[in-house]
Assembly symmetry: C2
Homo-oligomer: 233 residues x 2
DNA sequence: CCCCGAGTTTGCGCCAGCGCAAATTCTCCC
DNA sequence: GGGAGAATTTGCGCTGGCGCAAACTCGGGG
């Protein structure tokens, strides 16, 4: 903890509106760790012992089916809380969390959750607001998978990534962590082949530029048009 | 409230492990209402003013897309809490709730949530456990839609309905509220035609019997086999 | 600097499941 | 008891997107 930049941490949305001494109190219970790229912070279906805040990096939350297929539930960005099994009364993690790049996280033992939530209501309600957002996002994804074509879903996914984790560069909005065609396929319920074909097409028409594990959105507006392109119904 | 059977209410899982006087205290803030079949308890995207517990009946939670397509998010059974926007810091409902049959519900003004959650931690944590379950179920649904064929998804949906709201009869497990082919289609991301074809096939092989807005599972085991039948991957 | 392997692209054939349309059967209301 | 509308069934043709396979390309490690 001592090594971490306190001012950086106190700027996190999770701690907004809390007095500095309250923040310190909460942070006292945490321990920080680093995770190398591709290492896992926790594994699906294992005993949940901690909840986390991502201080630096990007994390992929993945669910694996019994026959080994993977589905990416979401990406976690800096400042977000994750692995909140404790807050929802679960004893195991429903998915695995894997570092998409080298990461720094804070971890609290689950045993501390009840006390923290009681003593710092802001902390609790911010967490539950996050849970609410995720529930709604997940439901939105169900709706998309039920009603949209693959092209629209991939367009939506890219737009979401660009908004949540996009970095503005001279050439457009670049997704600032390595993401493969396979990853995008696992986010949208399709195959890497189909994603590759779509990205090729979009690159040809100047909507994006892409490379190995890299996508830059050049023309978000046209992507929005694609994502709304009704074909069913 | 006075008219309602107190013993029935105190038996709800939501109130388990609470002293009778605590239950009374909580119930004091509630008001009960009836909703006729097909009437809506609340509407998507409207200001959230209350949270609810279903005392009797079945409720369909539906999300409608901008172009009018509907997706059934879930069914609510007796005893479940729903419309918990307040607990998740939301100001509007993300979906509509429609009575699948005539219903009786208890409603609390959202303003009461913080106080209730603070004074009755059991009540709060039970609610959040429910939210956790729903988040996980919703994610499971995303995984299913990503990795399974339509036949498996419909089989899963029927099994889930049979488990959650099934009524044992001499001829099998009957889903005890009216459910159309269209409803099943909206739960599984397919069309009523495809659902109809599947149910016809299953009826022919004796796995189910079905009629107008009615499905009875006769051979759950074979349905499980179908739901696990790997074809992709 | 070159090689290896992971990531990507692209072609080709096929089929699950959708859209459309029409016929049929309940069920409830008059 | 009969009619009307809603729900369901079924046929048919088509296609989006998947599976398979092979070629290619990039980037990092030796």
């Amino acid at each position: 903890m001592a090594a971490l930049d306190r001012s950086l941490i106190s700027r996190l949305p999770l701690f907004q509106g809390m007095a500095p001494e309250e923040q310190s109190e909460i942070l006292r219970g945490a321990r920080s760790s680093r995770y190398a790229k591709d290492s896992s912070i926790f594994e699906q279906d294992t005993e949940a012992h901690s909840f986390y805040v991502l201080i630096a990096g990007h994390i992929r939350v993945v669910r694996t089916t019994p026959d080994g297929q993977q589905v990416i539930a979401r990406y976690i960005s800096e400042g977000e809380i994750f692995g909140v099994a404790a807050a929802l009364g679960r004893t195991t993690y429903p998915a695995s969390a894997v570092a998409a790049v080298d990461c720094v996280v804070l971890a609290w033992p689950n045993a501390l959750w009840p006390e923290l939530a009681r003593r710092f209501p802001t902390f609790g309600s911010t967490t539950y607001r996050t849970v609410g957002n995720r529930l709604q996002e997940t439901q939105t994804r169900v709706v998309e998978m039920s009603t949209e074509q693959v092209e629209q879903r991939v367009a939506h996914a890219l737009l979401r990534l660009a908004n949540q984790t996009g970095r503005n560069t001279e050439s457009g909005i670049e997704i600032d962590f390595p993401i493969s065609r396979q990853d995008i396929a696992e986010m949208t319920g399709t195959t890497l082949h189909t994603v590759s074909r779509l990205l090729s097409k979009w690159e040809e028409s100047g909507i994006i530029v892409s490379g190995r594990q890299k996508v830059t959105v050049k023309d978000a507006h046209r992507l929005v048009v694609l994502s709304e392109n009704r074909t069913k119904g």
